[in-house]
Subunit: 336 residues, 2 copies
Amino acid sequence: MKVLITGGAGFVGARLARTLLARGTLAGHAIDSLVLADHAAAPADLQADACVQARIGPLLAQCDGLRDEAFDAVFHLASAVSGECEADFELGLRSNLDSTRALLDALRHRAERGAAPTRLVFSSSVAVFGPDPAVPLPAIVADDTLPAPQTSYGTHKLICEHLVADYTRKGYLDGRAARLMTVTVRPGRPNGAASSFFSGIIREPLAGQEAVLPVAADVMHPVSSPQRTVEGLIAVYEASREAFVGRTALNLPALNVTVQQMLDALEAVAGPHVRARVRPQRDERIAGIVANWPRAASAKRAAALGLRAEANFEDIIRQYIADSAATPGALKGLQT
Amino acid sequence: MKVLITGGAGFVGARLARTLLARGTLAGHAIDSLVLADHAAAPADLQADACVQARIGPLLAQCDGLRDEAFDAVFHLASAVSGECEADFELGLRSNLDSTRALLDALRHRAERGAAPTRLVFSSSVAVFGPDPAVPLPAIVADDTLPAPQTSYGTHKLICEHLVADYTRKGYLDGRAARLMTVTVRPGRPNGAASSFFSGIIREPLAGQEAVLPVAADVMHPVSSPQRTVEGLIAVYEASREAFVGRTALNLPALNVTVQQMLDALEAVAGPHVRARVRPQRDERIAGIVANWPRAASAKRAAALGLRAEANFEDIIRQYIADSAATPGALKGLQT
């Protein structure tokens, strides 16, 4: 089978690609070809795989060509991130809204000419939940909590959920939308996102660097490891159409964890000298943004597909340590 | 002030135009100019008004020109109807999604160059509510009921609600979205819409013609008169920004009425000989569609703006009779 991953060179996309190549199959079919569409070049290990074809350039410019190309599976992960969309409104419209529309229309074009509806998984986000300033969020955001996005990123994700649902209802696609939780621990450097510290307070101390904690330790947040996130996307792909009934969007499982629990887990896994590198220094801007985010999420529909969150944050840290073994400097803070 | 009504030649749009001209003011400002953008020609009485400028053609083609034209108020009513969008998917995308986006971008373009955000009322619809096949609708759909549209029309209305909200949050607009209930009694001829009979069972008997009732008499549905609908749109325009808090969409008030109550009202207002022209003849297709529609709606946020539904269906029939006095044949069924 032939698989397309948009955003296939990104953090989640590349991990999904590696996981699919390691499995060799998807929904019981052998994967012959894996196309990674991304504005950036794919990591070298993926480019070296004979099954992989990397296509570099904006997704929007690639979509017309997709009208004449048959894919058995599409994972649509390409997206500008939240902070970028707030800073550049047109970038958000183009990257997150117009690109998705163009991709869906390319797949529709094929279905209108008699092809079977392509199965597509769209990566939505917990950012679809507000909060509505008029109505406080429930303690736990569920699959059927009323979305009231307060960022362009969350707005476009929600809009695309509904486009995927409508194209699916019309028979142009077999679409599903999975709302990703905050994926942590992300490798690499801090980025400008307000959520950056959720990875930074683990990643930097493990690398021997100081990390600033800009919020109170009792802040709670729904997180997921990269691997559970990828497993969730695959399970959503492999689920039957019937499992989705009429709705196409579901929450992926979350570990609802406080910052204090994250720090305790860091100490348990890596020792008090690593934990000591986290320095509390309140940042009112970031604390204010985070105060409006969901503190917890449930995932009843994903649970019905057999998906579970990690049992504890220690496991998430151990996953990051195992993943980072080959990265120079990433774990030098572990040495005492 | 200068006012734009998209869909200004349509049933609701033309009535809104007449109401605004009769008032002469909007939010305390004198109306100097009223532009009606529509693919059809405006009614003759409106064309004859010195304040009115009719612009005929697709809205999508008109939007580029709007980038350099200042409006104080926009009522965005232009829309392909539900049945059209189900029959022609691209028409729905173009007329209801792309046109709204182009209109919002024209207004954003002005704001980005320093103009004050234009106040805009978007006519959304009770069709944003599903039902989600997986989750039955609540007995009454409220402002904050989870929308799960099951038509392209409802999907596009919901998407545009969220675009209006996000452009407003960013300061490009002062946007509000009002969800219209089923507007009845519509004049003219039956159309292909499944909801057509809600007007037909009143309009046809009053004109001396037989009307077919395709559903059971215990079907309940949220309706509103044309005049209350227009008053709702104006009140939503005139409300303060603060009245909307972060959310921009609200339900307009509905009279939740059964078909039996509609027929009883027809008999009370027009007599048993008129009522007798309604012939029950079940249509499984229409009954099936209607069975999935909301049976009732509440409008708490609109009530806070002082808006109320009609007290009874008799008043809606009397409004139609008063409106139709000058229409040849419309009321000939009243004669005994």
